[in-house]
């Protein structure tokens, strides 16, 4: 059941996945499995291409992403010189999509990275120390769990004001609680294994136990979960921009582009749908990559 509620999709944040303790020699096995998995290889290549094109935007297009021309407003796909058309102020769509990848990826990946660091720290503390501190941390997380994720993100962004930073903060706050829950569960499970007791019996200090025995066993599970969140994070961050709560105009970002092109849906429906298509493709690639990783790391499958 774990893998089915953990899948990323708007509004759903996973219940903690069951912990598994992975033997280290098996990283080789994971790599071998991944290299044999054509889907995962393909989507990873796609992602690399998307990242590369958005980073190399100035070299893959000659237009300015902010400079439009009144004469060239809302041209259809296939217009000479503007092969993906132009937007409502006459800016080249291909150019804006390329540049837009930067902010869209940034706004999608950074919240997950932040929540990974903060969430696993809090979760490991809660799971290892337990007691009052653990209860306090977990009860606080329950409060944030009580909001549907979009609602919480919208509330935070709506009140803090729009902008890239606030959108990142909002999504990090949304992702920290599930991250803490998973880290806490896995840590608590690992902590009560005999090898931790044996280490204590051998006179190992708490910090050393966390560093050498807990962290290495907990991190794998958390990392897989984090990759599965990226897809959702990209959808949500673009969604915030779409609502006008994230990145501000005239910056290029897919969600924001979708928002402004929405008015043009009666004139150039296909052009208007393009930014959303990119959000979809990127999020799907992240999802499939995460699925592949999860499958390759599944200890129960003996392939």
């Amino acid at each position: 059941m774990a893998s089915d509620t953990t899948m990323a999709q708007p509004g759903t944040l996973a219940a903690p996945a069951a912990a598994f303790i992975a033997p280290a020699g098996y990283w080789k096995l994971v790599r071998r499995r991944l290299l044999r998995d054509k889907t995962t290889l393909f989507v990873t290549a796609m992602l690399v291409a998307i990242v590369f094109i958005s980073l190399a935007a100035p070299w893959v297009t000659s237009y300015d992403p902010y400079q439009g021309s009144i004469m060239l407003r809302l041209k259809p796909i296939g217009t000479p010189g503007h092969w993906l058309g132009t937007d409502e102020t006459g800016r080249d769509i291909w150019t804006r999509l390329c540049y837009g990848g930067r902010l869209s990826l940034l706004a999608g990946v950074v919240p997950v990275a932040v929540s990974l660091v903060v969430g696993s720290f809090l979760g490991i503390v809660a799971g290892f120390v337990g007691g009052r501190i653990g209860t306090l941390i977990m009860r606080t997380m329950d409060v944030f769990y009580a909001f549907p994720s979009i609602l919480l993100a919208v509330a935070i962004c709506g009140l803090l004001g729009n902008g890239l930073t606030n959108s990142i903060i909002a999504l990090a706050v949304v992702f920290i609680p599930p991250m803490v829950r998973i880290a806490e569960t896995v840590t608590a499970q690992t902590r009560q294994l005999d090898f931790v007791e044996a280490a204590r019996a051998g006179g190992t200090s708490t910090m050393q136990i966390i560093r050498h025995h807990i962290l290495s066993n907990v991190l794998g599970t958390i990392l897989v979960y984090a990759t599965s969140l990226i897809s959702l994070s990209i959808i949500l961050s673009a969604g915030l921009s779409f609502l006008g709560l994230g990145v501000t105009p005239p910056q290029a970002e897919w969600g924001l582009m979708l928002n402004s092109l929405r008015q043009a849906i009666y004139v150039q429906p296909y052009v208007a749908a393009l930014p959303g298509l990119l959000i979809f493709v990127t999020s799907m690639c992240f999802n499939l990559m995460s699925d592949g990783l999860r499958g390759a790391m599944d200890v129960r499958l003996n392939r």
Binding site: P23, G25, D194, A201, G202, G203, N217
Partner: protein, 351 residues
């Protein structure tokens, strides 16, 4: 590393002084529940347990599962804090001023757990696991690893073949050998074996038991051997201690306990033991009544609710451990029972 014959410099009190003396050890666990998650009851896991372990002996601890054997072991290792009680290690009180520190005691006392797989960090190779604690204690990495490999050889594993393996690449018996090696890496004097062979196949169990015997002689070790398997305890122990619901009900030399059990519980336990020889099976009644429940145990003698000899006096007070009333056996044989008929195991005639 081998210290055969030579006098251990850490030996302070000489042969006659017990290696470990345990006085009035007590541990109760709260059970929470209800709407407010209040403490509803207490598990009397270990209740007023006293005993001592002599240098060089193997003390066996037996009892049904749940009677507090593992809790006792964890208390001895200071893995959990006792509610009450003192430990005296070779004459020094543990944790007291002027005594020996917990850290210092832990170096001389090590433990092997039942589950050989979860006892090993799945991301560490065998040598990593063995060398880890000595390295943390300041032994240079090179030397810690060399010694780990030599220990592997001592527990009967080929270092070339097994040193770089991960736990999931080994069999249960092999892993338990590694766990033993890890316990020995800190050069302890006392090793607590908590059901250390219980999870192994019979043939592997015998091999590991023989290994333990060899190591004991080679490193001059003292064992506390915990098991619910009466046959194994009989095989390895010099002295035996029988526990019931967190208390010691009988203790003494292994022959005395097995040949002339004085506590009705011990007798019932032995009666239910699968014996290899049908003629030797005793005729005492098997255990009846509810299985032991350490939550709010009965007053007085805890066994009285299942004991056919029980009478009013049994409910009045917890019977002290004392020499049997009816016996001419060894002086160190102690039993916690106040009914002479029960100690003798006389067949009851009344209805």
């Amino acid at each position: 590393m081998a210290k055969t014959g030579a006098l251990d410099p850490r030996d302070r009190g000489g042969k006659a002084q017990p290696l470990l003396t345990v006085q009035n050890l007590r541990k109760h666990f709260p059970v929470r529940g209800g709407v407010l998650n209040r403490v509803k009851a207490t598990v009397h896991a270990v209740d007023d347990v006293s005993f001592s372990v002599r240098k060089g002996e193997t003390l066996g601890i037996v009892g049904e599962s749940g009677c507090g054997k593992s809790t006792t072991a964890r208390l001895l290792m200071q893995l959990i804090a006792p509610d009450e009680g003192t430990l005296i290690f070779d004459g020094d009180e543990v944790g007291a001023t002027g005594g020996i520190s917990v850290a210092a005691m832990r170096r001389q006392m090590q433990m092997v757990f039942q589950d050989s797989y979860s006892s090993l960090n799945p991301r560490m190779t065998m040598v990593d696991s063995i060398a880890y604690a000595p390295h943390m204690h300041g032994v240079p990495k090179r030397r810690a690893y060399e010694e780990a490999e030599s220990l592997l050889a001592q527990v009967g594993l080929n270092p070339q073949q097994h040193a770089r393996r991960y736990p999931h690449e080994m069999s249960g018996g092999q892993r338990q050998r590694v766990n033993i090696a890890r316990a020995l890496a800190l050069e302890p004097r006392l090793v607590i074996l908590d059901e250390a062979v219980s999870a192994l196949d019979k043939s592997v169990e015998a091999q590991v038991l023989n290994l333990l015997r060899e190591l004991k002689a080679r490193f001059d070790l003292t064992y506390i051997f915990i098991s619910h398997d009466l046959n194994v305890v009989e095989y390895v122990s010099d002295r035996v201690m029988v526990m019931y619901l967190g208390q010691v009900v009988e203790s003494g030399p292994v022959e005395a306990i097995y040949r002339q059990p004085r506590h009705p519980y011990t007798r019932a336990l032995l009666a239910s033991k699968p014996s290899m020889d049908p003629d030797k099976r005793t005729t005492a009644m098997p255990l009846t009544g509810d299985p032991p429940n350490p939550i709010d145990p009965p007053s007085g003698c805890r066994f009285r609710t299942r004991c056919s000899y029980a009478r009013d006096i049994c409910a009045a007070a917890i019977p002290p451990l004392a020499p049997p009333m009816v016996d001419d056996g060894p002086a160190e044989h102690l039993v916690a029972c106040v009914v002479p008929e029960a100690q003798e195991g006389r067949v009851l005639t009344h209805a």
